[in-house]
Structure formats: structure tokens, C-alpha cells
Amino acid sequence: MKALMWRAVVNGQAVQLSVPPTRLLLSLLREELELTGTKLSCGLGRCGACMVLVDGMAVNACLVMAYQCQNREITTIEGLASQELHPVQQAFMEEGGFQCGYCTPGMIMSVQALLGQHPEPTEEQILQGLSGNLCRCTGYGGILRAVGRCCNKMESPGQADETSSV
């Protein structure tokens, strides 16, 4: 097997690695570049914990082989914001859009991709847009409220629409 000189821009930095062409992007990120924010969970693209952006598009890093992302721009959770929190991250903090946090980097990247496509998403667009990200802790309530907050929508599914007790 002939090694590939993999070149990419990861979180704004040019990187170059000699790797087997079928080496998974997830492995390159976690093992070679020590960017462990992107997580391994199911290994076959069914849970979204490994979500990253490649040229702005959300992809499962466990499905992408090195040759498929040659010369691309890759953004991981670590590259989302440098000094302060990105608005999506801030919203997750404020609404409790996470508990154990393991699905959170992938979830946030998917939210970022969703809002990139639909800055004011409908409920349907949110549900479809995040349908590839599993969360076992929250039941998605906190996540939906966080997304709603990002879009300045205060009425989002899962949030009570009256505040008085019954």
C-alpha cells in the first residue's frame, strides 16, 4: 500500500502527514493531531459524535478516509472559536444542552452546519438537521432549547409555554 502525503488545513493550520490513504480522518485528528475533542463512539457514522466540518460541510470523520479529504479545510470543535465562546457554545452552556458532554462537540458542529444553511430554521429543519446526532443523556430537550436560543426563538419544542403552575 502506497502511503499518501496527506495535506489539509485543520482549524486554520496547514498540516502534512504521511499516512495510508484509507486512514480515517477521525484517527488523524485524534491520534496524529491530538485533537481529541472529536469523539469515537459508533465508528460507522450512525451517532454523529465525530462530526466535523470539511469545507464547511458537516461530515462524520469516522466515515471519511484520508484520500477523500485531501487538500480540504477541516474545522473541528477546537477550531470553532478561539478566545470566547461561539454563540452556539454559549447557548449550550446557558440552556443545559449537554450532560455527560460526549456527544456535545459533534452536536455543536452539526448545529453550526445547520445554522449555516438555515439561519432561522423551522422546527422541522432542526429535527432533520440534527437527526444524525445521538444524545443519550438529555432527551434532546436542552439541545432544542439551546438551538432555539441561537436563533432568538424563545418558543421551541420541549419548553413549557407558560410559566405559572397549574
Binding site: 450532560q99 455527560c100 429535527l127
Partner: protein, 762 residues
């Protein structure tokens, strides 16, 4: 109180572990690396039941890049593990009993080499007959899976005379209920980093829900004193009971010992499915009778639990199921007989709800059937049978008085969901789409917290002013998402009136935190509350004395506050915590040992503190395909004061999500004791699209006067009552009774002809 961010008001508290989690900076134990690290992998049995005739490792050992191949011969101490009964081999000697049984462990320079090395290990099996169900295991001719036979544990509880009492009943229903083999589905699989230092001390960095217990088990396996083992067990990417028992730790420790290098193990999802624990599938047969007024008279229960190949916590789970089969209801004549049965079907063990989910599904379904037969409305039927605040517990055990049952009943009764549903009455249709049926239903439960009578349930912690000037609290608990860090932070801020920045929380490290017991059984909030109630006055008194000396003020005029000690009248801080620490040189440090509240009555497994919950739902059934959607949920929870609103909401919503999966889609299907659902492409976890229901939480915070135990744990209670609420709603919508989970589409599909006004063609 309807609990959400706005009603929580000033109590809304951002999680202390939030920043690290939303930025991806947090290093989970499976993210760790060390220089010179090797990768460990475990060879699991190719057969669900077989004799092991020989294990040949020469080819694997010869592979370049392999540093160690271990078998049972390489276990220095006890070649067994198990929290209660150590009956599971670390590395099998002569027999395998499930497809996850471990036969060999390999350490190599890359995970690829380690995986390839596994394929070079040659194992000769002689297949044995596969015991693939409790029925098969209980037959006379079944092979014995363990020396004592195929029954791990039996329970028997009786009061009154059920057989006679059934004759006095106006209505009797009998049915058998079946519940699935649910998988925990934590997003982070099992794994960690293991290293021995030059002094022969082992550091284990791997997830568990009881670091000290892991330390004890490893000590036995490695034949090494506990003091030479350090377990760092936090933070964890989800557990739900699945990581309490040992999993990868013995292999990591043994490989690190043999190779002299740090060893990392990280289960693939396939490995996790294969080897990991599952919820006990249960077959619960109930016969329940009421009199003409709807009073429960007689209740006979038979529980058969499939505990799989090894004991782990199978016996306590059966005890818990036995106790929870009567629910929060009064009934004079009861018989419960349970058996936990060994099979070759994986290993069943601890799982959020702990045996309650299964029997509560059955019991609540029974009440709905009795309601239908008697014509008494289902929610009214509950009301007529609710326990009173000072009643004994389900097994006649003395319990802490609680009015929770009546409170959650009332909260659902007056909820928007229920009021709207009742005013609409009966089955509802959607205009223009006659195949859509709407229905509503409700169920309730009480759930015991703590480990129950007979199991030691100690806890404790440490509180002090450390050398850096922080108020430091140390508990051996683990953070796996449930929010223990936030709970501790909030409790401490409320006790001391301080800022979050004044605190240092130390958890999940056996070197640094005293034994607090397991982070399970909805117990840690209570343990923390009891421990801090004892330690806070001691530390405060000592700090105030020292502050008085330093400042010249009278200690009686001083209070703890933000940043340091303040004058009672509002001036301060007059001395900062940092300055105080300098003066006291970290000598202000106290430990407390507490015990989780236990019933005084010697009833095995019985609990003392209970939380209560009721859930109501509205569902839509699409009878073209038999697909169910939950549209709306209301949950009432009586668990005492809400310490952390964000955490409380999260645990109830999250628990309900797990219950939704259990009801509608989750089943770790096994055929001939082999898993057919090997990853998340075939094992269905609820997605966000399955979770669009409007969700309201009614939190009942009042406790009976004089209750000293404070806030109860709510980690499990959100998961226990939803299933029967959903099936009650399905019945309302379709007239179909569901006695088996997950709900099968086959059971709800209806030929279109019958619904569009045409004749049924068959």
C-alpha cells in the same frame, strides 16, 4: 411547580464542567495518552457456550509489535470478578458462557496490530448446548451453567391469602408482560489508561461508578494491596449503570503489569455491545383483583428475569423488582415469587431503574385492564388505592413518610395535558386521515433510592479550607453527566454563601477523596446532603474562630460569604479565604462517614426513602404502519427540594428519553445467544426526531414536616413510569392492548378498509 428555566429564576446555575465540555477541551479517560503507550485488546469468545479445550498464543506472540499475550495462567490473584459474587472469569480457563467472555488479552504498538494479533490466537472449542432463554434454562435436561444450577436467586414475598382473596374480587385480570434487553448506549464506550510506576503502584484511569469497589476487585485479581492501586474514575461520557461493574480494567492492569508500559484500551462499539451489560429482560405474570368499589384486594406476581451468564447485580435487581411489584398502592393480599435465571444470553446487570421499570410496566398495565373491565376511569382507579403518607412500604417495611403518591397523582390530574385530554373524551381522530388515532394515558410509580436493606450503603466525604484558600469538598463520586459536580457546587454555595470561585471540588479519585460509596441508586444527592450537613457547621465554626482571632471581631458576629468571612451585618469580606488558609495552613479539614438511610425492618432489599412520579402522554398511532409517535408528555416528580433546576430537568427528560426508547424501539436482539443488533445502525436509540414531544415537568418540592433527609436523588425516577403511560394511550387510541415491549408495529397495523368506512375484506 412547573419547572423550567424561567421558573427556576435565580436558582438557574450553569454547570461547572460546562466550558470544557462545549469546547471539546475536556479529556475523557478514553482520550488519554502516555509516552510509550501500548494498545490493549481482548479476545472474546466465538461461541456462546462451549468448553475451552486449548488456547494457543504462539503466533500472536511472535507478531512484530506485540508486547504481551495473556491468558488465565497470567492472572496472579483471583481469576474472577463480580460486585456481589465474583463468578465471572477475568480470562476463561476451561469454559465460556457468553459471546463476551474473555479468553485472551493482547498489548501491541498500535490498535491495528493488536486487533490482528487477536486473529492469530487459536482457540479450540467444544460447543455445548446453548441455553437461550430462562425457559430453556429451567428445563430438567438443561446444562448447568453454574455449580449451584441455573437459578441465581429466588425471591418470595407473601402477605394475606391471595388465593382465597381472589374469590372475593369483583374483577380479576391476569396477563404476562415481556420487556426487552435494553442497552445502556452510553456515547463513550468502555476504556481507559493503565500504568504501573516504578514503585509498583498501579494507576487506573477508567470509568466506573464506584472507584473504591473497582480498587477492591482489582486488588483481588492482581494480588496487590488496595493501597497500591489508585483509581481515577471521572469524567465519564455516560454510564446509566452500565459501567459500575468491572469491564476493561483487569485487562488493562494485567497488560500494563506484564509489559511495564502504559496500556490503553478503548472498546469499539461492537466490542461494547458484545461484552457489555444489558437490562434484565423480564417476563412478569400478574394476576390482580379489585372489589366492586375498585379497591385492590389481591395481587399475585411471578417474575422471571434473564440474568445471562454471570451474577453481577442480578440478585439485587430481582429484589428491587420484587419490592416494586406492588407500586404505591394499598393491597392486603400479595404473593410475589421471582427467579433470576442464568442463560448464555450476554450478561444482564445494573441499569437505570434497576428492575423497577419492568414490574411497573406490568403493574400499571394491570390497573388499566382492571379499569376497562370495571368501568372505573383508570386515573380514578389509582386514586382509590393510593398509599397514605405514613403507610408502610411495599414489603411492609417502615419507610420515611411521604405524600408523594397523592401529590403526583393530583399534579397529573390537574395538568393541562390531562384536562385537555379528558374534556375531549375517548378516542380521537384526525379529520381527513382516518388512519391516525390519538389517545392519552397516564401511569405512576414510586421508586426506592439507596441500595436497600442488607447491602452496606456507606458514604461520606471531606470538607476543608485547603492551602490555596479554596473551600474544598472531596467525594469519591463520579461525574457521568448526571450533574453531581453542579449539585455539589450549588449545595456548597448555598451553605457557605460563597462564590463558585471559592470552591474546589475533588471527585473520582481514590487517592484524593474519601469513600462516598457508589454513584448509583439515586443516592449521591442524599449522601452529599447528609455529609455536608455534618461537615459544614464544623468547618464554619473553625473558620470563624480563626477569623475572629485574625480580625479581632467576635466569632458570633461573623458569617461565611463570598470570597471570605464577612460581618453578619453585611460588611466584608473582612478576611479572604486565601488569607485564612495562610493562617491555618490547610489544617482545617474534616471528614464524615454517613450511611444511606435504611429501613429499620430486616426485610432484604427493602428501601426507606422513595421518590414518586407520574407521567401522562398524548400519542398518535398511524395504523397504516402501526407507528407510534409521542406528541406530548407531562411528568410530575415528588423528590423534595430541587437543588439544581438544570440538572433536575435534564435527568427527568433524559430518563424519559431512555424510557421512550425502551417502549418504542430498543431491543438488543439475540438469536441463539448471539447478538443480531451489533451496533447503532441496527440497535435503535431515539433520535431528536423521535423526541419532538412537548415536555412539561411538575416538580413537587414539599416534604412532610420534620423530614431531615432533604433533596432526593432523581437520576432514575424519570425513566420508570413512561412505558405504561404510552401503552395506556395506545389502548385509548386503538383498542389494542400491548403486553410486550418494545411495541411492535405488527400489533398496531390495521387494514385500511376497516377505517375508511368500507367493509373489511378479511
Amino acid at each position: 411547580m412547573l419547572l423550567d428555566k424561567s421558573t427556576a429564576g435565580a436558582r438557574w446555575h450553569l454547570r461547572p464542567d460546562g466550558m470544557e465540555k462545549v469546547t471539546g477541551r475536556l479529556r475523557y479517560l478514553t482520550d488519554l495518552k502516555a509516552p510509550g503507550m501500548l494498545y490493549g485488546k481482548v479476545l472474546r469468545s466465538a461461541m456462546p457456550h462451549a468448553q475451552l479445550v486449548s488456547i494457543r498464543t504462539a503466533r500472536a506472540e511472535a507478531l512484530a509489535g506485540v508486547h504481551a499475550v495473556l491468558t488465565h495462567k497470567d492472572v496472579p490473584g483471583l481469576n474472577r470478578f463480580g460486585i456481589v459474587i465474583p463468578d465471572q472469569p477475568v480470562l476463561c480457563e476451561d469454559r465460556v458462557r457468553y459471546v463476551g467472555d474473555a479468553i485472551a488479552a493482547v498489548a501491541a504498538e498500535s490498535p491495528e496490530i493488536a486487533a490482528y494479533a487477536l486473529s492469530l490466537i487459536e482457540v479450540d472449542y467444544v460447543p455445548l448446548p446453548v441455553v437461550d432463554s430462562p425457559d430453556a434454562a429451567l428445563r430438567a435436561e438443561a446444562p448447568m451453567l453454574h455449580p449451584q444450577g441455573n437459578v441465581l436467586h429466588r425471591t418470595h414475598y407473601a402477605r394475606g391469602d391471595v388465593e382465597k382473596a381472589f374469590h372475593a374480587c369483583a374483577y380479576v385480570v391476569e396477563a404476562t408482560y415481556r420487556t426487552p434487553r435494553q442497552m445502556h448506549g452510553y456515547m463513550e464506550t468502555e476504556g481507559g489508561l493503565f500504568s504501573w510506576d516504578a514503585d509498583g503502584r498501579l494507576t487506573v484511569q477508567a470509568a466506573t461508578q464506584h472507584g473504591y469497589k473497582d480498587r477492591m476487585q482489582l486488588s483481588r485479581i492482581l494480588a496487590v494491596p488496595e493501597e497500591r492501586i489508585r483509581v481515577i474514575s471521572s469524567p465519564i461520557g455516560g454510564s446509566f449503570g452500565g459501567k459500575d461493574e468491572l469491564n476493561v480494567q483487569p485487562y488493562g492492569a494485567l497488560l500494563a503489569l506484564r509489559t511495564g508500559k502504559p496500556v490503553k484500551i478503548h472498546h469499539t462499539r461492537r466490542e461494547s455491545v458484545r461484552a457489555g451489560l444489558k437490562r434484565h429482560p423480564m417476563e412478569v405474570t400478574m394476576k390482580t383483583g379489585i372489589d366492586a368499589d375498585g379497591k385492590l384486594v389481591a395481587h399475585s406476581v411471578r417474575i422471571i428475569a434473564d440474568t445471562g451468564a454471570y451474577a453481577t447485580l442480578g440478585a439485587p435487581v430481582l429484589n428491587f423488582a420484587t419490592e416494586h411489584a406492588m407500586g404505591p398502592y394499598r393491597m392486603d393480599h400479595v404473593l410475589v415469587e421471582g427467579r433470576s435465571v442464568f442463560t448464555n444470553n450476554g450478561v444482564s446487570g445494573e441499569f437505570r431503574g434497576f428492575g423497577g421499570n419492568q414490574v411497573i410496566f406490568a403493574l400499571e398495565s394491570q390497573l388499566d385492564r382492571l379499569a376497562a373491565q370495571s368501568g372505573i376511569p383508570p386515573w380514578e382507579l389509582r386514586r382509590r388505592n393510593l398509599r397514605q403518607p405514613t403507610d408502610p412500604g411495599p414489603l411492609g417495611n417502615t419507610v420515611m413518610p411521604t405524600d408523594g403518591a397523592a401529590q403526583v397523582w393530583q399534579e397529573i390530574q390537574t395538568s393541562k395535558l390531562w384536562q385537555a385530554a379528558e374534556s375531549e373524551g375517548g378516542e380521537k381522530h384526525v379529520p381527513g386521515r382516518p388512519w391516525l388515532r390519538l389517545g392519552f394515558g397516564a401511569a405512576m410509580a414510586m421508586h426506592g433510592s439507596g441500595l436497600g436493606y442488607g447491602i452496606p450503603d456507606p458514604g461520606g466525604g471531606r470538607l476543608g479550607l485547603n492551602a490555596e484558600g479554596k473551600l474544598e469538598a472531596a467525594f469519591s463520586f463520579e461525574e457521568f453527566g448526571q450533574g453531581i459536580m453542579a449539585t455539589l457546587e450549588i449545595m456548597l454555595m448555598e451553605l457557605f454563601g460563597c462564590d463558585a470561585e471559592d470552591l474546589h471540588l475533588m471527585i473520582g479519585d481514590t487517592d484524593k477523596a474519601p469513600h462516598s460509596g457508589s454513584s448509583t441508586a439515586s443516592r449521591s444527592t442524599t449522601i452529599a446532603h447528609l455529609t455536608l450537613s455534618e461537615l459544614h457547621p464544623k468547618l464554619t465554626a473553625a473558620m470563624l474562630v480563626a477569623a475572629a482571632e485574625a480580625s479581632g471581631h467576635d466569632a458570633a458576629c461573623l458569617v461565611t460569604g463570598r470570597g471570605g468571612i464577612w460581618l453578619e451585618d453585611g460588611e466584608g469580606p473582612i478576611i479572604s479565604y486565601r488569607e485564612l488558609a495562610a493562617r491555618t495552613s490547610g489544617s482545617l479539614c474534616y471528614e464524615a462517614a454517613v450511611h444511606f438511610p435504611v429501613t429499620p425492618d430486616p426485610v432484604t432489599g427493602a428501601h426507606f426513602l422513595y421518590t414518586c412520579t407520574a407521567a401522562a402522554v398524548r400519542v398518535e398511532v398511524d395504523t397504516r404502519s402501526g407507528t407510534v409517535r409521542v406528541l406530548e408528555q407531562a411528568h410530575a416528580v415528588a423528590a423534595g427540594p430541587v437543588v439544581n433546576p438544570m440538572g433536575y430537568i435534564g435527568q427527568i427528560e433524559g430518563g424519559a428519553s431512555m424510557a421512550l426508547g425502551y417502549t418504542l424501539m430498543e431491543d438488543a436482539v439475540m438469536e441463539e445467544a448471539c447478538y443480531r443488533t451489533e451496533n447503532l445502525d441496527t440497535y435503535m436509540l431515539p433520535t431528536i426526531a423521535d423526541s419532538q414531544a412537548t415536555f412539561r415537568i411538575h416538580a413537587i418540592e414539599e416534604l412532610p414536616p420534620g423530614d431531615p433527609y432533604g433533596p432526593r436523588g432523581i437520576g432514575e425516577v424519570g425513566s420508570v413510569a413512561l412505558a405504561p403511560a404510552i401503552t395506556a394511550a395506545i389502548y385509548r387510541a386503538t383498542g389494542r392492548r400491548i403486553d410486550r415491549l418494545p411495541v411492535r408495529r405488527e400489533d398496531l397495523i390495521m387494514r385500511l378498509a376497516g377505517q375508511t368506512g368500507g367493509e373489511e375484506t378479511l
